[in-house]
Symmetry: C2
Subunit: 230 residues, 2 copies
């Protein structure tokens, strides 16, 4: 309809020719050639943001972990598996991208050693020693060619307090707080509801479809980005 | 064509009204509400076997871990997540099923404790303590109401020796040996090539599409099953 069309025209001006990078989906950390550690991220939110950003005129690069989603129209996708791969792909965008949205559910830890061969189950118990993965959104936000940086906080408890801590500690421009304990939103759900935090304020976006919410988030991000630019 | 049609008619007689259960796909073992351990099984081979068994006239129950595959026609699917769930679903079929094909890539271990809340990344390193999962195919083969039991061995090295050891140790009727180090077959590939071992012999099935290979495997399984019955 007309309202939607006009909104589309307005959005299309907001990020016209802005270089925007989004990470999406889970990462997989190999235990051996067969087994891995991963998480329940479907990639839906990141893909919806990529699509909404392209609608708003941005040149979108989507760095995606393993998902079953088709690449959105007018979006350039780079496929990665592990957090280390994703970190490398993100660093390669520094100096090129003006906005970076870290929507992927990056594994915080990876097995210390990936076994060359499938590990045999000889024992009643086993132990996997893990080491920290690179913190991609921190590396982006503290880079000398720092883009406008948006993080996500997916938590099962104490969401807003944790999200504000992460915003400050990682020196982000914005953070999107997502309650993943609520199964009607987050991860595999088609709906989402979030709170967006900046240094100066916070704003709720009520539960709605991920595509619609993505369009609203991109508008908020664009407004903040343009404020900072001017 | 005619040959295929006739083969189809022959197959349709082979397992007419036989109750057959197949497990397929990976399992996921929760680390916390967000993270899990899994493996690269796509479920394609198990789903192809379920479809081929239904073509051969069997009443098929497919116990499936998380996959992105549609349930084959004329197959009853039971969805499970963890190895413990899959074990429970398999045990519920004892006394009912006459043939059991354990095609799922069941996680051998699960985290000792699943954390109630998302684990925080406070440390540079972390450790996951794992305990053994129930061995589903062993539990089936040693059940008092034991069906004709077929296992799979997916290995990256020393395949046939390991497969024969597993056949004997787990008291299986047949085992299908699958070299998953070869990326053109196994796991996510559409092709497969296997060696089928019984107590008395072994038989290679050369590389072909998983559907075609599934039809050949079901025929081999049916012949062995009917031999044992008579």
């Amino acid at each position: 309809d007309l309202a939607r069309h006009c909104a589309g025209l307005f959005n299309s001006r907001l990020l016209d020719r802005v270089q925007l990078t989004i990470t999406a989906g889970p990462t997989r950390e190999a235990i051996d050639p067969v087994r891995y550690i991963s998480n329940h991220s479907s990639g839906k939110m990141g893909y919806a943001l990529a699509s909404a950003a392209a609608d708003a005129g941005a040149q979108v690069t989507l760095i995606s972990g393993p998902t079953n989603l088709p690449c959105p129209d007018r979006v350039k996708r780079i496929d990665v598996i592990s957090a280390a791969d994703m970190h490398g792909a993100a660093m390669a965008m520094m100096g090129e991208c003006q906005i970076f949205i870290a929507c992927a559910a990056v594994a915080d830890y990876r097995p210390n050693n990936c076994a060359d061969q499938k590990i045999k189950k000889d024992n009643d118990s086993m132990r996997i020693d893990l080491v920290r993965n690179p913190d991609i959104v921190s590396a982006v936000a503290s880079h000398s060619l720092r883009p406008f940086t948006i993080g996500f906080a997916a938590e099962t408890q104490d969401l807003l307090r944790y999200a504000r801590g992460k915003l400050e500690r990682k020196k982000l421009d914005m953070i999107v707080a997502n309650d993943v304990a609520n199964t009607s939103i987050g991860f595999n759900a088609n709906d989402n509801a979030v709170t967006v935090l900046t240094a100066n304020g916070e704003q709720n976006i009520a539960q709605m479809g991920k595509n619609q919410l993505a369009a609203q988030l991109i508008q908020l991000i664009a407004q903040q980005f343009l404020n900072v630019q001017s």
